[in-house]
Amino acid sequence: MLTIENLHAEVEGRTILNGIDLNVKAGEVHAIMGPNGSGKSTLSSVIAGNEDYDVTQGKILLKGKDLSGLDPEERAHLGIFLSFQYPVEIPGVTVTNFIKTAINANRKAQGLSDLGASELLKKIREKSTLLDIDSKFLSRSLNEGFSGGEKKRNEIFQMAMLEPTLAILDETDSGLDIDALKIVANGVNKFKAKENAVVVITHYQRLLEYIVPDFVHVLFGGKIVKSGTKELAHELEAKGYDWIKELA
């Protein structure tokens, strides 16, 4: 589904990604771990098409399609979703209106007509129940005054509504207490299917207790320095990241 080949990226002339290779198949969950500053968030931003970063070498393919030069919205239309570490507040635009705008923008790109109100509401009801989201929450301004946990839950709610083929969760566990973490993880697990894939980006192993990865990769200095299965996450939890630095 997702193939990354020798990806190099820089921001303001500073190299952040230094030759990343990654292969994610449909139905898989991959975790990308690494210490602060290793390039984790940059990788997710680059996949989603953030124009602040320049890809200097290599390429990203989604289902064989080269993403080079595609706008963030075009990548979204192809099925890429990024759950943000710091979701942005949009006063005056309710969660429901925002979701509606996003869904219809994606449908339009696929040549479909707008989703009918009743269908939309049905879907909203179903997905918000899954994530234990109160209906009052849906008529609030997007992310405005939301707690850290509410913001993250809202990200996963958007993911559930948009049904992407590739979901990248950037530090979705940060700022969550254990109950919120379980709800969010449950949302992700319900979303997981044969035809989609999830990339979890995290500093800590904690989230991986609930979203169990098929593969774990360790990012350091803008490169994947080690890959393994979920046991690798346990090893990192026990030993920290120092021994990884020696591998680089």
Binding site: E73, V88, I90, G92, V93, N97
Partner: protein, 438 residues
């Protein structure tokens, strides 16, 4: 002949059917002398540094419309708050339109300035309030005073809540090739009373119109005045709005100014206090494009202790449009415990758009809370990326962000139907398509 000369030499014609010995006319004549001496303001005047009237006054305008223009309700209904029952004082080319209006004398007066200025039963009110807070020195206000004859007159007696909002609308029909209008409004709200007012100036054809309007608003003890100015005129129309508000103790006066259109708009908004525990609210949303120019010049004069003022102006400027914000807060030595806040945030959407923002705080009291903040920025790129990553195309995402930026000023609009209308206007102006049903 220069237009200034025309204004002065046409005065005899204006005086023809007036009682020249009346005290009101003495006031007018005196004001004309002030205008004659000072003339139109120029960029050399500090408060007109960023706004030039040259293009407007180097033209010729009709001062007295020749023919009575007729307008049908269906042509102008969209400018009314049609889904709400309102009092209406409607003028066409400066002339009262009884057909489109809905005035009252039942428990409150919503009627005409021309009646108030001439009928004996209003004489006391006129003697007490007419031209008492409007500037005697400012030349445009003086010009309006000298020609003051028609406009809206509102008197809300003690302990009265006006049940319906009042719409004051000045239409320019376009029957005259170009027209200079000078409406004069007087609004007196007595103790413990409340009123909501919506004012707009609307051209119906693309002919040059300049409106130099003066409104005096008196807000007595415990009273609440909620005033909305809707400025969404054609690009052939210019407006100089001079609004003077005097508040007594425990009163609240709020003015929202929505500047969404017009060629050149200047809003002079002045607040004066006569007692303690007063709240003054000044809010504005300005969204311009093309070569439009809007200048907000505000002043709150804190002359008594324990009063509050809040100013919040948002501006969104695209293409070659120009915005000016000049916000003055004056806190006298006696006005301890004043809370005065001022915020002016602007977004420039294009390289050629400009904003000049100038906070002007003069504080002579030592125990006060005063703050001001001014920002001029471009679109938040990170927020834009967030929206685009959800599949929302760049143009739509920008529009949505801009809409969100302007939105919080709308939160304080008390009239739901008006809020919905303005919301819709802002959204359509920005090209945002939101269903507001949710």
């Amino acid at each position: 002949m220069e237009f200034k000369e025309k204004l002065i030499s046409s005065y005899l014609a204006f005086e023809e059917d007036l009682d020249l010995l009346d005290s009101v006319h003495q006031t007018r004549a005196k004001a004309l002398r002030v205008f004659e001496k000072k003339g139109f303001p120029t960029k050399k005047d500090e408060s007109w540094k960023y706004t030039s009237l040259n293009a407007l006054i180097n033209a010729d305008y009709a001062l007295f419309p020749r023919s009575e223009a007729s307008i049908e309700l269906k042509d102008v209904k969209k400018y009314f708050l049609y889904d709400t029952d309102t009092y209406k004082v409607i003028f066409i080319d400066g002339v009262y339109s009884p057909f489109l209006s809905n005035t009252t004398h039942d428990g409150l007066d919503v009627c005409l300035m021309s009646a108030a200025l001439t009928k004996p039963k209003y004489r006391n009110l006129i003697n007490t309030y007419f031209n008492k807070i409007a500037s005697l020195e400012e030349s445009l206000t003086a010009l309006n005073t000298s020609y003051s004859k028609e406009g809206a007159f509102v008197y809300i007696p003690k302990k009265t809540v006006a049940e319906k909002p009042i719409e004051i609308i000045h239409f320019a029909s376009g029957e005259e090739h170009s027209l200079w209008l000078q409406p004069r409004n007087l609004i007196v709200v007595d103790k413990n009373s409340q009123v909501q007012i919506i004012e707009r100036h609307q051209s119906l054809k693309e002919h040059p119109v300049v409106t130099n309007s003066v409104t005096e608003v008196y807000v007595h003890e415990e009273a609440f005045v909620d005033y909305y100015k809707l400025q969404n005129d054609l690009t052939s129309a210019s407006l100089i709005d001079n609004t003077y508000i005097q508040q007594a103790k425990n009163s609240h006066a709020s003015v929202h100014t929505f500047s969404l259109g017009g060629k050149l708009v200047r809003n002079n908004l002045r607040y004066y206090h006569t007692g303690q525990r007063i709240l003054s609210t000044l809010k504005g949303v300005t969204i311009l494009e093309g070569k439009q120019h809007v200048d907000h010049s505000t002043m709150v004069h804190h002359s008594h202790p324990n009063c509050e003022s809040h100013q919040d102006y948002k501006g969104i400027f695209s293409e070659r449009s120009e915005g000016v914000f000049n916000g003055q807060i004056l806190v006298e030595k006696i006005a301890q415990k004043t809370n005065a806040f001022q915020q002016n945030n602007n977004v420039l959407l294009d390289d050629k758009a400009t904003v000049n923002s100038k906070p002007q705080l003069e504080i002579y009291a030592d125990d006060v809370k005063c703050s001001h903040g001014c920002t001029i920025g471009q679109m938040d790129e990170e927020a834009l990326f967030y929206l685009r990553s959800r599949g929302i195309p760049k143009k739509e995402a920008k529009a949505l962000m801009t809409y969100a930026f302007a939105n919080n000023v709308l939160e304080s609009v008390q009239l739901p139907s008006l809020k919905k209308r303005i919301n819709g206007q802002i959204a359509s102006k920005l090209g945002v398509n939101l269903g507001f049903e949710l």
